[in-house]
């Protein structure tokens, strides 16, 4: 189950695909769509939440990929290149919709975490089968949407899309250290959110003692 703790990228690009794309091979274009559209759609959906926005980002990503494949220099993988286009499209859409959007170049929000109170609730005892339901899924999604964009994009790429630290750094044009710092803040914030939720959940279901620290 713990697949997120490995950094491997599940899709490896077929050898020769880039060359076929460059020659305008329509079968290669459809292969690219089938290889990456699901993951890029999920990335956009987690960033934007609105399915129509996610679909717009998906279409724009492939239109740009087809248009600019001649300029793909192979310094990063095709997968990373596509993620970069999709992430930039999603961030641009967020900027258009939210004037208060924070640039990725600015320091990540969250410095206050050092002094924030910690939820000390051990909810690890809840069996997995009790958590596989739509209510918990909604809570997980809600918690991700609570993250500032600077942290959310790193969490989505690293822990939901399983990109490595290096790949995430390449997609976002950040240092690996910045990716790790933001991932750490994102995970800690999510832990706080979920601990509050599961404390109430355990109380309702009369699990053992819970303590708020």
């Amino acid at each position: 189950m713990n697949k997120q703790l490995t950094n491997s990228n599940p899709v490896s690009t077929e050898p020769g695909l880039v060359e076929r794309l460059r020659t305008g091979d329509r079968f290669a274009f459809s292969e690219l769509v089938d290889l990456y559209s699901t993951r890029l759609y999920h990335l956009a959906l987690k960033m934007l939440t609105n399915p129509q926005d996610a679909e717009d980002v998906l279409q724009e990503t492939f239109l740009k990929a087809f248009r600019y494949i001649g300029g793909f220099d192979g310094r990063s993988s095709l997968s990373t290149w596509l993620y970069r286009i999709a992430t930039n499209e999603a961030l641009m859409l967020l900027r258009r919709k939210h004037p208060d959007f924070v640039s990725l170049d600015e320091p990540a929000q969250g410095e206050e975490e050092d002094s924030a109170p910690l939820q000390i609730v051990d909810w690890c005892c809840i069996p997995e089968h009790e958590l596989a339901n739509s209510e918990v899924r909604r809570e997980l999604d809600r918690a991700v949407q609570q993250l500032p964009t600077t942290l959310r994009v790193v969490f989505v790429l690293r822990d939901l899309e399983n990109l490595s630290t290096l790949e995430t750094a390449e997609v976002l044009n950040l240092s690996e250290t910045a990716v790790k710092t933001r991932l750490s803040r994102a995970r800690l914030r999510l832990r706080e959110e979920l601990s509050g939720y599961f404390a109430d959940w355990m109380e309702k279901k009369s699990y053992g003692n819970t303590t708020h620290g």
């Binding site: 769509v33 679909e55 279409q59 975490e113 051990d122 899924r137 991932l183």
Partner: protein, 84 residues
């Protein structure tokens, strides 16, 4: 980084994510584990942090692309012959 048992463990938080990913340097990792052995609160934080990360993998389904989305995508790319 020196890890001390001070009763206020907030200064450890920044190391926990790297710890879960196995990316802490070995000396710091050993110090953290020594601390965890004697600090119940930090153990709960580490365990729930690990569960938080794993929950997103376990509970979040790997859903297929909705059929309509794929069709409209292929149409927008003028690849209609691959719609099936």
């Amino acid at each position: 980084m020196e890890i001390q048992h001070t009763g206020n463990c907030h200064h450890l938080l920044g190391a926990l994510s790297d710890y879960l990913d196995g990316e802490l340097e070995s000396q710091v990792c050993a110090e953290l584990e020594t601390h965890l052995a004697g600090c119940e609160k930090c153990r709960v934080v580490v365990d729930t942090l690990r569960r938080t990360v794993s929950l997103y993998q376990v509970v979040e389904p790997d859903e297929a692309l909705p059929v309509g989305v794929r069709e409209r995508l292929l149409h927008s790319l003028q690849l209609d012959e691959f719609i099936k």
